[in-house]
Amino acid sequence: MAIETLVLGAGQEVGKSCVVVNINGKRIMFDCGMHMGVSDHRRYPNFSLISPTGDFDTALSCIIITHLYCINTLFLRFHYFLIIKISHSLILYSYIFFFGIICDSHLDHLGALVYFTEVCGFHGPIYMTYPTKALAPLMLEDYRKVLVERRGEEEQFNSDHIAECMKKVIAVDLRQTIQVDKDLQIRAYYAGHFTLFEYLTLILKVLGAAMFHAKVGDSEMVYTGDYNMTPDRHLGAAQIDRLRLDLLITESTYGTTIRDSKYAREREFLDAVHKCVSAGGKVLIPTFGLGRAQELCILMDDYWERMNLKVPIYFSAGLTKQANVYYKMLINWTSQKIKDSYPTNNAFDFKNVCKYERSVLDTPGPCVLFASPGMISGGLSLEVFKRWAPFENTLVALPGYCLPGTVGHVLMSKPPKIELDPNTKIDVRCQVHQLAFSPHTDSKGIMDLIKFLSPKHVILVHGEKPKMVSLKEKIHSEMGIPCYHPANNETVSVPSTVYVKAQASDAFMERCLKPNFKLHKCSSQELSIKTLTDKNIVPELQVINEKAVFIVEDKSKKLKVVHNDEVLVMLGEKKTED
């Protein structure tokens, strides 16, 4: 039996995650992402490869969105494993993700979902964790607006489509075993840590991060969305170490940068902000509404508390406010530290954060403003930037990577003037601080995971081809595990384990479960204590009978496992006698 993996997206490239795995006739789609850099049909995975006739309902058992919700920041990394168990095969799907590399990266995973379900017409179940389900509509709506209103593209789906699509989504809790149908079973796991900012790590560790386990008959498979093997190597290890994986599908984007102190970065950032506000300046932090904004907010709120600062912090994005509501209810998905402090202190009840009003822009005196979108690509953040940039005591703190072509990107080179369009030029006298991007899990992280799980096969997706090739070589040479890196629309087939069932005789079980520790005088160095000691056999023979069992196949092809002694009885008179 074989496991067939069809890569529809993110094969030897970054973005547009979409992998379809076929085990014993059960087809599961992992992620349904879209490519952000392309605007034609190549943006979506080639769904026709799943079913040329477009009958997706019979072709697919379910869709699982693993990358729960993500953010356009560099720093958040989510961890989840997806274990799929189908018949006897185990597959692990894993992902490490660096959000800085592409913007809007959350759409890598679910961007095409609405298109697939509403436009292409898939009616089967879709699984996400609770935070994903809560936050996905915000993301999708935000994205739709960007596409339609900013880029002026023809809309592929509308708000109603999003709402309809979300109705089909079944929310799952961590560790909950979901019976998709009679054979297929999936389970999401909490899996490990993400780091960089230790402080933030503790906070947003699992909001939306999960590891999935799926099972058809006896086959199991794990899909890990994102994981981290760096220093504190928890990995939810206890949960997955029993698995005998046939296949590991892992993401392979990795940096080579060496990890440096996150505390230093954090401190640097806060110091810069503090210096600016104490000099009476204004701080503009352009950021998207989710994730990164909450992190920075928690960070600053705490700092304000400690330093007893009274400078107001404003939050502009309505999205953020809405998101905070979700965060408050989904506090069980955050770190233990936050959970423990609840209910006396809900980390998402910011004490120093005030609601933004337009009048803030012209109010004199210091303040901190979180404005969307990130990268100053338009909207409020651009408006504020235009207004504040000419002043020397203003600080613009860029918390993430900025795509070329955006104001944020230009700003990083600290030019004296920025030309927005031929008619608009902005004098830039403000200070600029960038929170540096530091990916810290390199190939070692992936290698560690593979070593730990020792699957029978590895498939690499979501990475740049040269890096994939070198990683593949490394896996193959160091661990001797067959490794593949299929391109888009290619299929890889690996064999899966099959178990046969056999009846064990009572005598056999008795001897196995109640080991006889009686030691016979025996010189053989091979004698080990935990043997199926047989008193009737001389010491030398005892060694041979260690662990030895007979498998009997009768005429109806049924297997039976019996003990040594029983074989002789079974064969009756045929037994050799003196």
Partner: protein, 698 residues
């Protein structure tokens, strides 16, 4: 498998308690506390200090409970229960008597099915030798913890009042004192024949609670946990209370389902996940709630037929949505009626007191009452007085995964799960840790609505409130649930002038649905309570085996015979099969390791062992003839010499054959085996071939 029912429980606050012995693993199902047994004890308020010397108030019993019908049963002429016959002492708490007959150190696993099933657990965990693994859902554990903390803090008040006791054995438990207690009350605390005395315990401390909570392993619904590799445990929503669950236990000897108190009507909490209980080898039915309700049995037959069609066997999805609109609206009607009574009472200038019992009902009432107040355009403060109220309300708003779909929709719409969050923000609800708050007494002259603990009316803020208001005919007390007649519960507060409204929310499967549900679940063996036998019959064509159990008795259930092993098939194809035509069997000898994983036995074949060992094993059941063997060996180009050995009792080796050229090897020929010992695998297989040809050749 052995099943022992320790207690069939009394209503939702005191769930049943059983012990299950599954293949040698002893599993305790729930560990509850019967708090209704507090009734014979006197509550403590300042007004009671002088109470024993009070003159007897002769008040007509009918006035006491307002419109309540049916006076309490008074069988004997002896002591009438009144407020002076109550026990004035620090109360002891009634645990499951039969549980104390078991050695706690022999219990391997404890499963907690509901927040109420946890209350007796600290008694168990502090016992010497107790080392069982405790499993409960996250929410059950947390809510149970809150209830226990509340209990301990309310009990503290009594402790302070009575002071330290001189002996461990309280005076009131002496024979002569016990006899003074009116029989109605005595029965409550000591059971019908007084045998339940042994189950009484002084309350645990806060430290015991903390200790107990730490020992619980918390689960999610449908999470699989494995106990010792041999037992896979899963919890599924039962639809009664937040976190309450039914269990599936999977062992190599078959799976067992445990159906605790469950309900199809769950407007608040996650729906009853009955599909997951389908097709178990054994199903233990343990929902006793239906017995208390009086349903028309005639109705039952018709309904069950209809229902069988209605129960959907959904192919996918978490739970099938079975919803009875009629019953749902009945519940809503009840709530609406309570609200209208409350509003009426407020309008009349009286206050309303609602002791908190079930959390789901409490939250619903809170929402409905506040809505009704808004609708009536009155400004009435709502107080929630409990030491754990703040934690409780905060906690309930962060458990969306455990709630019904309607509630979850609120999460996805970005609204708080329950209205109380908003009401708290708007200062419409005031949460107070205790009654002594200035804020409360300042405003309590005006009509207000108070939710408080404890429903037994013997502990907590409710005692003080009733003491203060029981003579106010305008005020209203809403009693929800409870198993003892309200006359007994209200005994200390006589004469009662305030109105009392008693309502019943008895979540359960309902007698009329039990059969159709069980038909849907299709267990191979059904364990059913003896008490239900007169009410429900099981047609033998649909139920292969039904066993009736009763309290205190052990029933034996037969298990699957034999053991099933799983063997990885890839190496299995390399078996060296020896065919035995006469017996029509094939035989292969393998080396492997037997492991137990996720309640299944696996035989992991060990291929490497053989190679490193330099020995080859095979099977044949003829004794090779030496001469023939030597001849064959020389045909194969092997020089061999025979060394005969003496036969003795210890050794079964008959002779040894040494080969020196071309390989060095020793072949031992025994009565029932031949062993080839060489330096390498190739040599061994070569020799083996030679040997095999001799054996086959015969």
């Amino acid at each position: 498998m052995e099943f022992t029912c320790l207690s069939k429980g009394r209503g939702s606050h005191f769930p049943p308690c059983h012990i299950l012995n599954l293949g040698g693993i002893k599993i305790l199902l729930d560990c509850p506390l019967d708090l209704s047994a507090l009734t014979p004890f006197s509550p403590v308020t300042t007004a009671f200090y002088a109470l024993p010397s009070l003159e007897e108030d002769k008040v007509d019993a009918n006035n006491d409970v307002g419109s309540m019908a049916v006076p309490a049963k008074r069988q004997k002429i002896e002591n009438q229960p009144d407020n002076k016959t109550l026990i004035f002492a620090e109360p002891w708490y009634k645990t499951v008597m039969n549980l104390h007959l078991w050695n706690p150190s022999f219990i391997d696993v404890v499963l907690i099915s509901s927040p109420m099933g946890i209350l007796g657990l600290p008694f168990l965990t502090q016992m010497k030798g107790f080392s069982a693994k405790i499993y409960a859902t996250e929410v059950s554990a947390r809510l149970g913890e809150l209830v226990m903390r509340d209990l301990v803090s309310m009990h503290k008040e009594l402790k302070q009042f009575y002071g330290p006791t001189e002996t461990d054995f309280p005076v009131w438990l002496r024979q002569e004192e016990v006899e003074k207690i009116p029989s109605v009350l005595r029965e409550i605390i000591l059971g019908k024949d007084g045998t339940e005395l042994g189950g009484l315990r002084p309350l645990y401390s806060e430290a015991d609670v903390n200790d107990c909570v730490l020992k619980i392993q918390k689960l999610k619904y449908a999470e699989e946990v494995c106990y010792n590799g041999i037992l896979v445990i899963k919890a599924f929503s039962s639809g009664v209370e937040m976190g309450s669950c039914n269990w599936i236990l999977d062992s190599p000897k078959g799976d067992v389902g445990y159906l605790s108190n469950s309900s199809f009507i769950s407007s608040q909490v996650a729906a009853f996940d009955y599909q997951s209980l389908q097709g178990t080898d054994t199903l233990i039915y343990s929902d006793f709630s239906s017995l208390n309700s009086t349903e028309d049995v005639k109705d039952e037959e018709n309904e069950s037929v209809q229902l069988a069609d209605k129960l959907p066997m959904s192919s996918h999805g978490l739970v099938g949505l079975y919803h009875n609109a009629k019953e749902d609206s009945e519940e809503m009607e009840k709530l609406a009626f309570i609200c209208s009574c409350a509003i009426e009472s407020i309008k009349g200038g009286g206050s309303v007191f609602i002791p908190i019992n079930q959390f789901g009902i409490f939250l619903q009432l809170l929402e409905e009452v506040s809505k009704a107040i808004d609708a009536s355009a009155m400004k009435v403060p709502i107080y929630i007085i409990s030491s754990v109220a703040e934690d409780l309300l905060a906690y309930l708003n962060i458990v969306p995964e455990w709630l019904s779909r309607q509630r979850q929709e609120r999460l996805f719409d970005g609204e708080p799960l329950f209205d109380h969050v908003k009401l708290l923000d708007d200062k419409k609800i005031h949460v107070l840790p205790n009654i002594h708050s200035e804020k409360f007494w300042m405003h309590s002259r005006e009509p207000c609505i108070v939710f408080c603990s404890h429903w037994s009316l013997r502990l907590g803020p409710v005692v003080h409130l009733l003491q203060r208001w029981h003579k106010d005919p305008k005020s209203l007390l809403i009693l929800e649930g409870g198993v003892n007649p309200p006359q007994l519960a209200l005994l200390p507060f006589k004469p009662m002038a305030m109105k009392v409204l008693q309502c019943h929310f008895q979540p359960g499967i309902g007698l009329r649905r039990v059969r159709s549900l069980l038909e849907t679940l299709q267990p191979k063996t059904l364990l059913f309570p003896e008490e239900f036998r007169p009410h429900i019959s099981f047609p033998s064509e649909k139920f292969r085996s039904v066993l009736y159990y009763s309290e205190g008795k052990t029933s034996k259930v037969s298990c699957k015979d034999g053991f099933e092993l799983k063997i990885p098939a890839t190496p299995a194809s390399n078996f060296y099969w020896n065919a035995f035509k006469e017996q029509e069997i094939n035989l292969a000898r393998v080396n492997g390791e037997l492991i137990i994983e996720n309640a299944r036995y696996h035989l992991l074949l060990d291929n490497t062992e053989k190679n490193s060992n330099g020995r080859t094993n095979s099977v044949s059941f003829r004794k090779p003839e030496l001469e023939k063997l030597l001849a064959t060996f020389s045909n194969f180009g092997i020089n061999a010499s025979v060394e005969h050995q003496k036969m003795n009792s210890e050794s079964q080796i008959q002779c040894l054959i040494h080969t020196a050229d071309p390989y060095k090897a020793v072949i031992e020929i025994g009565t029932s085996s031949v062993v080839i010992t060489t330096a390498g695998e190739n040599v061994a297989s070569h020799l083996y071939k030679a040997l095999d040809s001799v054996l086959k050749g015969n």
